[in-house]
Homo-oligomer: 596 residues x 2
């Protein structure tokens, strides 16, 4: 079936169900960022493979909204289909809500599957439709249409992390969450998000691509906790350990019936942006429950890593640094020998070197290897057969990361693979300045992500260049590579605290020309107190040389140059004990101080 | 009477009125920043002369809260009295609310004059007292105690600005405010703030020190507007002009009775932070009124200057720049000749030069001239007889500004008056870097004052130095030298727009050692649109050389040095046509490019 045929089928199924259109989102019952394939109907129907989109099919047309990371990719993948690619956030482009208001008329009904959409989103779309007298109905017309090819729900082996990994027992975490519930005036918490649940119960599996989580729900009260997971997935010893921590087990499918039939009065803390609409409705319609809207306290708790986690994360970055150094040597050798390399070769080269490291078990996301203009697509993924050859000029951008038994990594380097243009060198230098200005920032402990974000953007803004994404995101611990609540981006109001980790990944993306990104993970650390207050700063966690060949050294300020040289000294000193003599010699050269 | 005797009298009067304590604030019925002396009871009773403080007298003690600008001054002025000086915001120092909760016990009552306190503040204090079972009563026990010495209400000549000055008629402004009221779902607006009222009705007088405003209220509905001002203060022609614009006149004292007896249904927009408690109560208790809490729309409207105002403001800064150049030459000459100068001499020297300029009629605030360690007190005012001699070493900080018929200015320069220490040169250079990084910022049009504030603080934060105040504030047009809603400071959420003016005044304040501040006014201007969005930047309004003698030029980055040299070229080229040959030669030297 072609994309247009699939859209026609959606349209027809909506009509058969008494509706006039259908909305699909890249979303699952757990508001996951990376979906189990079981839930990726949007990709199957539209052909769009990016991680975030919304598809609306109306009687007369269809449109797909993609965010700034995916403008170029969305345009390419929708070309030749009836679907209009909408650049969400760009000037003159209607929002999904504006489109719904305009396209649906009085008496019409839009259908969507409420179990796979956050309650807040459903409410927003309903309000937009009601402006035109149209309605929204929670109905899943999509599942039957792709039942034959739809992947099953994942069912991978589950395990529990140990306190040596996490630095805290499940009992301690339950107590911490209960204390937060009391502060919020709540007595219960529904946990739909898999990364929150994983942190709370030390539970890991391999249900999601690149994200070692298990598909499950939890429901926590001040004196009980129930994990809802498919029967038989936990080893007996793990189930017993959880039981000892006060965690009971029920089947995954029992979650909504459990909520609907719960009969003890509870004040349930719910986050409308992450609770799916079916969950939210089940709580709201149960008279035993009072809904208390607020932030899931687990998000804030797990965002600040404890000392054990931090020690593990630091070790993880040493291992990842060694693998990256070896990969970079492999790449350099291949290029020097003139071996024909394609973008899709890079992922395997990275995996080969990570596999040599103890504790590595997966990538933390599908590696991005993008040569030349392809790198202007921020989240490009090279598909074998449809990818570019790495030609001996310009840049190769490589964004990748690993999952280890001691942490999760995320790193981007942009390598010159031959002669560079003046613009390429300027852009590279400015991105490096942005990266460094974020990394070397010293700041008071009242700073939010929005306030800090301007440190990174300043050097690029000076040239009227911006990147259409955040400067950085939190990183989970043996978990999702993207994690909140902190982030470096406009309007983020979370105040930074020691123990938070964050990526620092400014970039330049000039469509059809060039893409450059330099990314380290940083740890927010205490920098002492004086008469002015409590100071914080960042320490780099990532330990991989930043290519200095493209740098226009005269553009760097003294402090920027000093940071770069100190970073490289630190990389060398930390990695050298784990490297061979050859590798050490190579790294010494790569980390040699840059001078004017 | 000594301060302690005055506090004892307050305590006794409170007891006589059935209360147990009294609270005084530097506040008037209009939430003015600079009070008519008529309202400055706090200074008379406590001896504290700063612009912002709260005094609490309890049966057992008394305490005065001052903000970061006044820590040093407060400590000095409260020394030897029973009043404890509280550094508001410093670690371990209780807030006024915490103090009230702790000091007052069940059944006790705190008295305050609700006509001179914002409603939001009264509610906050009441809630704090209620935590301990104590109460708050709106009663003025203070007025009788100082009636003999209390200054009368001001009654200075009123005038109306012309459209050539303001660029908009009163009728146009009334229409703009009414449009905002409709957007906010309101039908009426009480205008307690004198600067808002001055903007709305083009009304100016000299009622407040350094601030050309008239003490009055206004009440605006969708079809009527009434100005409440003491009878006879307006010239007949002005009253007629206002009547023609649809503005009726009533006596100042009729304002509260008018609100209490108003009998047409209105939804009144009120801002609890600026409406005094008596006003708020009058509206809330009148059944004809519905209170709609929200921001006074005039604040946002007047914060963005129109083209006529901007042209006048630019002219104003040329005149002010000429006056400042001549003052600086006078100062330099006096120092070179070894004339004994005291801090208190500076204000007169400045005024003598400003008086030569057309349209100058007042200072915009009491000039700060602070030598050496005195400059560590951010808002120090040298009192003749109690001021320092300007010794021939270290810095002299001069913060001052003028009121002209074409605008209001605010400028700070810090002059080396002899040999400097290494620290003094370093601090000066870092402050200059902070100033420049704010002034040269290029940013997207979503940036708030909090996001931009970090641009200025970055260079000082790098050395773990901060200033305990905002980086900058808006400046009124022939009005208050401090005006919102925009400001450069933590937590300010106002988005910058072209036409806003702002000061850029970072500083270093090391108690008992040194104070350095470099302040220009900046205009926010459009910097064009490209694929990334709408860009904004700042252009300096202030046209006065920045002393380069103390600068450690190697600390400046290339772009910082380029900004400084371009600014100085601009200062010279703009001022030169109004200067004599001698003055031009002096200025050419002062604005000569700095090189490494």
């Amino acid at each position: 079936m072609t994309t247009n045929e699939k859209i026609a089928a959606l349209r027809q199924a909506a009509r058969a169900a008494g509706g006039h259109g259908v909305l699909l989102m890249t979303s699952d019952p757990h508001s996951s960022e990376y979906l189990p394939d079981h839930y990726n109907a949007l990709t199957w129907f539209s052909g769009f493979t990016g991680e975030n989109a919304t598809l609306v099919v109306t009687p007369a047309g269809s449109a797909l909204w993609v965010d700034g990371r995916f403008y170029v990719q969305g345009d390419k993948q929708m070309a030749g289909t009836e679907i209009e690619c909408m650049h969400a956030g760009a000037a003159g482009v209607p929002t999904v809500e504006e489109y719904l208001t305009a396209q649906f008329t009085a008496g019409q009904t839009l259908l969507l599957d409420g179990s796979c959409a956050p309650a807040a989103t459903v409410e927003k779309y309903r309000a937009a439709l009601e402006k035109s007298g149209a309605a929204l109905a929670d109905r899943d017309i999509v599942s039957p249409l792709w039942a034959d090819v739809r992947p099953a729900l994942p069912n991978t082996p589950c395990e529990l992390l140990t306190p040596a990994q996490t630095g805290a027992t499940v009992a301690e975490k339950l107590a911490a969450v209960r204390a937060e519930l009391r502060k919020a005036g709540a007595t219960a918490l529904a946990v739909p998000q898999l990364d929150c649940l994983a942190w709370l119960l030390d539970l890991r599996a391999r249900d999601l691509p690149c994200t070692p989580l298990a598909v499950a729900f939890a429901f926590l009260t001040l004196d009980a906790c129930t994990l809802f997971i498919a029967p038989g997935r936990l080893r007996e010893a793990d189930a017993a350990a959880l039981a000892e921590s006060g965690v009971a087990l029920r089947g995954y499918d029992e979650f909504l019936p459990f909520l609907r039939s719960y009969d003890k009065p509870e004040t349930v803390l719910l986050e409308k942006s992450t609770a799916n609409y079916a969950l939210y409705t089940a709580v709201e319609e149960n008279p035993a429950f009072t809904v208390r809207l607020g932030s899931d306290p687990i998000t804030a708790l797990k965002g600040v890593k404890n000392e054990t986690e931090l020690a593990n994360i630091r070790e993880c970055h040493i291992r990842d640094g060694v693998a990256m150094v070896r990969f970079e040597m492999d790449l350099e050798k291949a290029l020097a020998e003139g071996r024909p390399l394609r973008e899709s070769d890079i992922e395997g080269m990275l995996q080969a070197r990570r596999r040599e490291q103890p504790g590595y078990f997966d990538d933390s996301f599908a590696a991005i290897a993008a040569w030349g203009p392809n790198a202007a697509m921020m989240h490009y993924h090279a598909e074998p057969g449809a990818d570019a050859a790495i030609e001996p000029h310009g840049f190769l951008l490589v964004d990748n990361g690993g999952q280890y038994d001691c942490g999760t990594t995320d790193i981007t380097r942009t390598y010159p693979v031959g002669p560079l243009t003046g613009d390429e060198r300027r852009y590279y230098t400015w991105v490096l300045q942005s990266h460094i200005d974020m990394a070397r920032a010293v700041f008071l402990d009242y700073c939010t992500g929005f306030a800090l974000d301007t440190f990174a953007r300043g050097p690029l803004w000076a040239h009227k260049i911006n990147y259409r994404c955040g400067t950085g995101h939190g990183v989970g611990f043996i978990s999702s590579v993207h994690e909140g609540p902190q982030s470096l981006r406009p309007n983020n109001a979370v105040v930074f605290k020691p123990g938070m980790t964050i990526t620092d990944e400014p970039g330049v993306y000039e469509t059809d020309l060039v893409g450059i990104r330099i990314e380290n993970e940083l740890e927010c650390v205490d920098a002492g107190e004086n008469q002015y207050g409590r100071w914080l700063r960042f320490e780099p966690l990532t330990l991989v040389p930043i290519d200095t060949a493209p740098v226009l050294v005269d553009e760097l300020s003294g402090p920027q140059l000093a940071w770069l040289n100190a970073y490289h000294r630190h990389v060398y000193e930390t990695l050298a004990p784990r490297l061979t003599e050859d590798e050490k010699a190579w790294l010494a050269q790569k980390t040699a101080p840059l001078t004017r």
